[in-house]
Symmetry: C2
Subunit: 341 residues, 2 copies
DNA sequence: GTGAAAGCGCTAACAA
DNA sequence: TTGTTAGCGCTTTCAC
């Protein structure tokens, strides 16, 4: 790459002012005489001067760039969060370095390190849990981190999400209240914090409330979304279950289609509630009854929160976060469609 | 943000060598005596030194960051391209600044300017057309640009895509060969290059080949994906059409469900072929017959091509691009599912 | 209101 | 094989 041709120095020389003055007008510093400003602006336009953000970043120690770790862009759930993040980021003139972690802990660590090397001003982390190494990485840095759309094992991290416990409990109760005899819970992994500490307890609470015994065998794991959900259709039937709350829409769609293809009538013989509020839920036939989530807003609020943390005094913010817990819990909803009675 | 505590200088002092030597070992320069390297590496580890990529970028004029313009991350089509891009980018140690253009020309321009200000080493552009302003922006810069997953009005830009003309022609022919009497074409906008110069001519070629008259009224526009496709179900029937090739899966899914909800049997009374090869096509019932596209590969190849352009001599590359056309056309396919006879 | 000058942390000749 | 020395383009005191 060749040397940048027109720099702040070129402009300064051409406008017969100092670099400092050019810098001031570029940055909207009010301490510039209007006519000086006008002159500089003219020269900038004439020369088509564009400030070099890298140089600015080095000098100011701010890059107006945030890092966003996403398990998978092709998952509509995370993509909708990312859209909310990006919109607010753009609004605040931030750019976002977006990288897939492929839901792989090693890659997540590497990705975060790379972002920090690039001196991002903040990080939004999407994912279900954080390894000790990654946690150390976060702790050793002054860069604020916000978790969006899940709950991790690090309760100290500011997090924007819905109340997964309550949502799961409500959905389970709904099923129980609507003639379901035996309700299954289908989640990604029993080991993640969001499931272990929120969804499973919520599910169990609903069962207990209804006077039912909890049976761990009715909790199913499915990772690979649609296909695994489809395959699950057989397994799940053999357990005598006649309803399920499924946390992921891809899995739910697979389960629904798998069931249908086996001649099981949904919702007559089997009811399904899904939990991600993705487009998928409206495309299937029957359409899936869903716990709704303000996905876009979760992303947007996470980014807003991050801007606050980035601007406030770092230590103070961290303090506030840790102690008061600057986490945000947004309201979820429920839309009855065709997969429930 | 406070001054970075441990810099290349700290390491140099601690290891009793010069900054240059530290720089060499960090960058894998072989001209370092093994024991010196070892010593430096030790100090780096001990101090947990992390090179500052911003400073490196300023000094080397390379940021190992590419800009990616995406119309919408929440569209699975583009998300899959982005996944391919990101994977290859990671492989080559590039980060990606990803920004939604919302399919808005003004925003696309602004986004690109912002990326260039951040000194990205290259840009991957996803979108259907380029405004004169944006084209000027590209031309005035030395940053290589690759278009992925579409065809723009700028034929000089290296582009990675499938053969939209042929794909459309084949799909239309398939419908005609399978008892369709009157075939519609449903696209986003008649005005974009990819439709105006590729899909529409392909569609018309198939009709002519079959000895049918072309009727512009059988070409429908739908933008807002699913909902507009759903609404289209009524309109399209009134024209006596009994089959359609739909370029976008969201629209196709909407059309299918709209038709079904009106009691039209697919494929018996109406056949549909869709063109984006998105997950959606497998989730609907009946499942949608589809022109398949190597979406991930389109993104991956685009990123590979970009790395070549970024490494080669800039001018030379640009020359080669313009003259030989370094564009890549990948093979598409066809999967018959349930929405065709 | 404006300018001079010292960095920011690193790379890259050029010497040695 | 290693060190010295300029920058890269900008921000930011600190004077004036």
């Amino acid at each position: 790459m060749k040397k940048q041709s027109v720099t702040i120095y070129t402009v300064a020389r051409e406008a017969r002012v100092s670099m400092a003055t050019v810098s001031r007008v570029v940055n909207g510093n009010p301490n510039v005489k209007p006519e000086t400003r006008k002159k500089v602006l003219e020269v900038i336009k004439e020369l088509n001067y564009r400030p070099n953000a890298v140089a600015r970043g080095l000098a100011s120690k701010k890059t107006t760039t945030v890092g966003v770790v996403i398990p998978s862009v092709t998952n509509d759930y995370f993509a909708r969060l990312a859209l909310g993040i990006d919109d607010i980021a753009s609004m605040y003139k931030y750019n976002m370095i977006l990288t897939n972690s492929d839901a792989d802990d090693g890659k997540a660590l590497q990705v975060v390190r790379s972002m920090m090397a690039k001196q991002v001003d903040g990080i939004i982390f999407m994912g279900h849990d954080i390894t000790p190494e990654l946690r150390t990485e976060f702790e050793n840095s002054t860069v604020p981190v916000v978790v969006a759309g899940s709950m991790t094992n690090d309760a100290d991290l500011p997090t924007v999400r819905i109340d997964y416990h309550k949502a799961t409990q409500e959905a389970t109760k709904y099923l129980l209240d609507h003639a379901a005899k035996k309700v299954a819970l289908v989640i990604g992994s029993k080991a993640t914090t969001v499931n272990k500490d929120f969804r499973i307890p919520g599910y169990q609470a609903a069962l207990k409330e209804a006077g039912q015994e909890v049976d761990d065998k009715l909790i199913f794991e499915a990772h690979d979304s649609y296909n695994e959900g489809y395959a699950l259709a057989k397994t799940i039937q053999s357990t005598g279950v006649d309803a399920a709350f499924v946390s992921d829409d891809g899995i739910a769609a697979g389960l629904l289609n798998g069931l249908t293809d086996q001649g099981v009538k949904v919702p007559d013989d089997f009811q399904i509630i899904t939990g991600n509020d993705t487009k998928l839920a409206e495309v299937t036939r029957p359409m899936l009854t869903t716990v709704t989530q303000p996905l876009y807003d979760i992303g947007a609020v996470a980014m807003r929160l991050l801007t606050k943390l980035m601007n406030g005094d770092q230590e103070e913010s961290k303090e506030a976060t840790t102690i008061e817990g600057s986490s945000v819990i947004l309201a979820h909803g429920f839309v009855k469609r065709q997969s429930t009675k």
